[in-house]
Subunit: 332 residues, 2 copies
């Protein structure tokens, strides 16, 4: 297995990327990790470690977080992210991982790697942590801000295939993100999508509300990229604010610090359960190659986890099996 990692993408790149790559290379000797980026910067970070399954691929440019995606991908042909995408396209790598500019990665998925035949738009999918630990896959989270009802149906098919191929679920349940559970609720988009989802070859369970997402109302939630992104960042933001307020409370005096020590282990477990990085990176579904998006703030552990996820997807021949199911149009 050969996994290309954009060494220059993410808030903590290249340090965290290289560290994660080393950890992954050590744990899985059968996997070749190809670090793509400025070798003059990456090489020293390997600190003389000569792991036979880490390889460097030089790329002279970097796509910055605030670069305009389409322009950047077209102009910076030797950017680390673009080079990694080309490696997937030309089958020099079985997967690519990047924590860089999301829009640029989506563009690379579509323009460089290419879409699966029959898929109109690729979607960014991510596992949300749920209290039972199982998680729910939400898509789209922003690959396309606007979506048509037909696109939501394709997202549902892609998400169902991912849950069954990657997680081994049989008949994964699909919900439509909406502002009420009744069938006729919603905006123009969800009202039009509802009857189409009922007829689609998936296990549609109706509307779900954002307040229930962490309680796992179903296995897959579909929504347009705008709504999905609002939900993702609302949940992240609320959790972060509550956790930092809690921390303040625990640091208030000697007694509260004692209380903190008592519940520390449980709190860490809870934090781990709510941690997005535990579920790995976000796959770009609908493209004809394995493209994984890491959270911008990914640390080395998150990069290692993304490699774990890529390995499972490669072992299950995820993309090829999704493509053939889509061209056969078979039932979920």
């Amino acid at each position: 297995m050969r996994i290309a990692i954009d060494a220059m993408g993410g808030d903590h790149a290249p340090y965290a990327v290289v560290e994660g790559a080393i950890a992954a290379a050590e744990e899985w000797p059968d996997t070749k990790i190809i670090l793509v980026g400025d070798t003059a910067v990456i090489e020293p970070l390997l600190q003389g470690k000569k792991l036979s399954n880490i390889e460097l691929r030089h790329a002279s440019e970097v796509i910055e977080p605030d670069d305009e995606p389409v322009k950047a991908v077209r102009r910076k042909k030797d950017a680390s992210m673009v080079v990694a995408g080309r490696m997937v396209k030309e089958q020099e790598a079985d997967a690519m991982i990047s924590a860089g500019n999301t829009g640029a990665l989506m563009t690379i998925g579509t323009l460089v790697v290419g879409r699966i035949k029959g898929i109109e738009r690729a979607a960014l999918a991510q596992m949300f942590p749920t209290i039972d630990g199982a998680g729910v896959l939400v898509l789209d989270l922003g690959a396309n801000v606007d979506a048509s009802p037909e696109q939501l149906v394709q997202y549902a098919v892609l998400g169902s295939l991912y849950r069954s191929k990657f997680h081994g679920l049989t008949k994964p349940s699909v919900g439509l993100l909406n502002i009420g559970t009744e069938a006729m609720k919603g905006n123009e988009l969800t009202k039009a999508a509802f009857p189409l989802l009922e007829q689609a070859p998936i296990h549609f369970v109706g509307n779900v509300e954002s307040r229930d997402v962490l309680r796992k109302p179903c296995d897959v939630i579909v929504c347009d990229g705008f709504a999905g992104n609002i939900m993702l960042k609302s949940v992240e933001g609320a959790a972060s604010v509550i956790m930092s307020e809690l921390k303040k409370e625990f640091m208030r005096n000697f007694l509260t610090k004692l209380a903190a020590a008592i519940v520390k282990k449980g709190m860490l477990q809870m934090r781990k359960k709510m941690d997005y990085t535990e579920h790995g990176a976000a796959p770009l579904l609908g493209v004809s190659g394995l493209v994984l998006k890491g959270h911008g703030s990914s640390n080395s552990y998150a990069f290692k986890n993304a490699v774990r996820q890529a390995r499972i997807a490669i072992q299950n021949d995820l993309v090829r099996s999704m493509s053939s199911e889509i061209s056969n149009g078979s039932e979920m």
Copy 2:
């Protein structure tokens, strides 16, 4: 001051409504509370208390939570919520409060009470709690699921007027809910609204992300009702899940219960800070009368708080002063 309360609306009606009304009537003797609903049910709940400033108004019907809003308002002419709306329209009451069917209350606002001249659509606005305690007003939260760019501008004007008239803010800052902070981010709606907001007679500060809402990025956030509702319920849901997981952790054994006892006071303060009901009910802005929507799960304390809020709005002559500002088209 005369405040009509729909005694039959909300998960804990009529008990919590009556209890809240009694508390409010006792605290503010200058305020007449008119409980609207089935007097045969309400009267016994007063338990013989003869408060001179509580009055009953019989209404023989009730709008149920799952009634189709427009149909229900048209057909159930003697429903408690409709009667309360008519009292505002006919100036028998200076304000109305209901925790019942949101859609029906919006319909009553528009069809029974009527819109302010020049306002295309009314919007449901609510204060979100923020860590600094000040709060941010978000609108629309679902009065209209879809919105036009021009409507978002009207929401911005309405929200700014509310913050300045009700909270006394000078030049309240207005943000546009979006999936990134850069000017060109977003879906078709937000991209079209952005330049209009820049030209509007408000203090526009650009795009804000849902992850920052609890950190108070500005004084007013505008969005379409679908996105606003997704954000509201995401934040509520995440907070509720985290709090219940915390509770579980604290109840695990003797030591963790001890820890819980130590931080209890601080946790309660934190909970209070994050509590929506502390900020009162959600005003329906853009209608030519004071209509307040209580959270479905409102307890007696929330109803009393809604009365407090209605009193302030009445004292400031909120609706009339908003109407005249809108017809004058003056700057915020």
